[in-house]
């Protein structure tokens, strides 16, 4: 078990390193001269050169990568070109709404997708199954901002029960926080549910064909006990795997959803940074999201043993 965990952890190191190289290259290749920007309009060529060497911009790619990488490991992601503030603290400030939106929409997705996938697989070909799979294709096809605007129009404009946009931190109380979170979390969750529902159905169909399902029925277990106690646990590995993979889609969705609902999160920070060509911020955000994605998938790999005792060896 310990050896398995260690092997998986060691295997993610080269991936993280590659991500770091790619993300660093993006800044390296970025147009414009940060030294010139920092020096201001009136600076002389000597001044710019001095700033450049003080920033280490005259060094080789490798030297600069090592320097940057060392900073990253210490939690230093550089400074915003726009505000001059450390990227790390800019991100830290914006983290709460983004984590809240991610967790809540994942919750919504699971609450929709798992029951839907299980029931669809239980009665393949039924109207429920067809409906669930129709929903899945629709979920792949509707961009998150489209669903968001439809929901806003419906539940905030035509029937004004929820706020159109904005964010209230958890500190202001759970009520206002949730009222502002319902629409974005629902929009993002529903679309994310499509992929998870489709995978749940496929995995359940495979499991429900197995002999041990018949054994469970022969024992006299009720349908729900057979589906959940016996089948779903066996289908868990493909399902948690797709949850990990869908996290990439969720991140893209977060960036868009925060824009639509004007939520001051990391996604909104990214969009502002794009508009301002604030490359260090873009770079920091991409690195953060990518590392989170890789680590989440590592955790999911490590969780397989919880679902299947045969993997614990």
């Amino acid at each position: 078990m310990l050896e398995y965990v260690l092997r998986r952890i060691v295997a993610t190191i080269p991936v993280l390193l590659l991500v770091a190289i790619i993300v660093f290259s993006l800044l390296y290749l970025a147009p414009g001269d940060p030294a010139a920007v920092l020096a201001g309009d009136q600076a002389s060529a000597e001044e710019i050169a001095r700033i450049r060497s003080s920033l280490g911009l005259d060094q080789s790619f490798l030297q600069r990568f090592l320097q940057w990488g060392g900073g990253v490991l210490r939690g230093d992601l550089g400074q915003s070109v726009f505000s001059g503030r450390p990227v790390t603290s800019l991100i830290a400030q914006r983290l709460e709404p983004t984590i809240a939106l991610t967790v809540l929409s994942l919750l919504v997705a699971l609450l929709i997708a798992i029951p839907l996938g299980v029931l669809a697989a239980w009665k393949p070909g039924s109207w429920l199954d067809r409906g669930a799979m129709g929903f899945a294709v629709l979920g792949f096809s509707v961009p998150v901002f489209v669903l968001s605007y439809c929901l806003i129009l419906l539940l905030a404009v035509a029937l004004p029960v929820l706020p159109v946009q904005g964010y209230k931190p958890l500190m202001d109380g759970i009520g206002p926080f949730l009222r502002h979170m319902i629409l974005p979390a629902f929009a993002l969750g529903v679309l994310n549910a499509a992929l998870i529902a489709r995978t749940t159905r496929a995995a359940m169909l495979e499991v429900l064909r197995q002999d041990y399902i018949r054994t469970a029925q022969a024992k006299g277990l009720p349908v729900m006990r057979v589906l959940i106690g016996h089948a779903l646990k066996n289908a868990a590995i493909p399902i948690v795997t797709i949850i990990g993979i869908s996290f990439a889609m969720l991140i893209s969705g977060v960036v868009v959803t925060e824009t639509v609902f004007n939520i001051p999160g990391v996604g909104r920070l990214t969009v502002d940074a794009i508009l301002r060509r604030d490359y260090p911020v873009i770079q920091g955000v991409i690195l953060l999201f990518s590392v989170a994605y890789v680590l989440l998938n590592l955790l999911i790999d490590l969780s397989y043993g919880l679902f299947d005792p045969r993997i614990r060896l």
Binding site: Y212, T215, Q217, V223, K233
Partner: protein, 336 residues
């Protein structure tokens, strides 16, 4: 036949499966009666309808594509078709338990032995966690699993094939069923383990007074273990009788074929318990049940035009014996 009250009675059962190319009748007009303490064997090649019959008894035919289209199944006089799902679930695993062919695929790989046996006990009998655990260990010991208190927390993949089948049996026995259906319980196991498992089943029958419906394709297993035999072919019953008489003197050419004993029938098969059955030329026709004549005619050495156009009825051919063959007279008295 004795005047004892029969436990399980299947009357004129018919099961159909809908497929891409039309409907197939997997079981056609099969009746059987099982008494307490009796071992009744259902014998036939694959496709003969023996497994479908046993699944139908528990109403476990997957629907769709399968469907019981005719017949009744009565357990202790109660028609199982009349029960709603909830009442039916109370019968399954409690009065009527089943063990399956492949103990590896029939046990859930992600649940421990104890969880799998325990859930049936909890469902049908209830009781505290300690009482359930004690009962699980008791049934594991009943099927002679050593170190039951350790095995209870293991997963199926940690056990050998024979051990897994013992677990299946323990699970089936856990709620004290009166009828045990054993669908090819030893096919997936090697020979010495086979003998042990069958001896265990016989012993449990003696001690618990269970009735056993033993489904097998192996007449050697039948000869050693069953009291009575029903031979199925193409979904129909072709012969029935007490095991000794039927094996000594089969009254249907198919049974003879299964025994592979046309030339020297009298060399009693019990001498060689695992006598290899000689392959009967050809295979069970897909549509045997829908042919106008005898389903076996195409493979039968005795068949004539009459056999091919007229379906032979089940006829009494001696004490407690039935045969569905126009030529059963020719087969009377041993070698033809």
């Amino acid at each position: 036949m004795s005047a004892r009250q029969p436990l399980l009675v299947i009357d004129h059962l018919a099961v159909e499966f809908r497929g891409r190319d039309g409907t197939t009748r997997a079981v056609d007009d099969v009746s059987l009666t099982l008494h307490a303490g009796e071992i009744l064997a259902l014998v036939g090649e694959s496709g003969s309808g023996k497994s479908v019959t046993s699944l139908a008894a528990l109403r476990l035919i997957p629907d769709p594509p399968g469907k019981i289209v005719a017949g009744t199944i009565r357990l202790d006089g109660i028609d199982l078709a009349s029960l709603d799902d909830r009442a039916l679930r109370r019968v399954r695993g409690k009065d009527l338990a089943m063990i399956f062919q492949d103990p590896m695929s029939s046990l859930n790989p992600v649940l421990t032995i104890g969880q799998q046996i325990g859930e049936a006990i909890r469902l049908h009998e209830g009781g505290s966690d300690e009482a359930v655990r004690a009962r699980i260990i008791e049934v594991l010991e009943l099927v002679r699993i050593p170190q039951a208190d350790m095995r209870i927390d293991q997963y199926p993949h940690q056990l050998s094939g024979g051990m897994r089948q013992r677990v299946m049996i323990a699970m089936a026995l856990s709620c004290g069923p009166r009828v045990l259906i054993a669908d090819e319980p030893t096919t997936a196991l090697d020979v010495t383990i086979q003998a042990q498992i069958l001896a265990l089943l016989r012993d449990l029958r003696e001690r618990l007074g269970m009735a056993i419906l033993l489904i097998t394709h192996d007449l050697g297993v039948v000869a050693e273990n069953a009291d009575r035999v029903i031979v199925l072919y193409g979904g129909r019953k072709v012969e029935e009788g007490p095991v000794d008489a039927l094996i000594r003197n089969p009254r249907h050419p198919y049974t003879r074929g299964l025994l592979g004993s046309m030339p020297h029938l009298d060399s009693a098969i019990s001498d060689d318990a695992h006598a290899r059955l000689v392959e009967i030329p050809g295979a069970v026709p897909h549509n045997a049940g829908s042919l106008p004549g005898c389903g076996f005619a195409a493979r039968c050495p005795l068949a004539d035009d009459h056999c091919r156009t007229n379906r032979p009825p089940l006829t009494a051919v001696g004490a407690d014996r039935l045969s569905a063959c126009w030529k059963h007279d020719q087969l009377a008295g041993g070698a033809a």
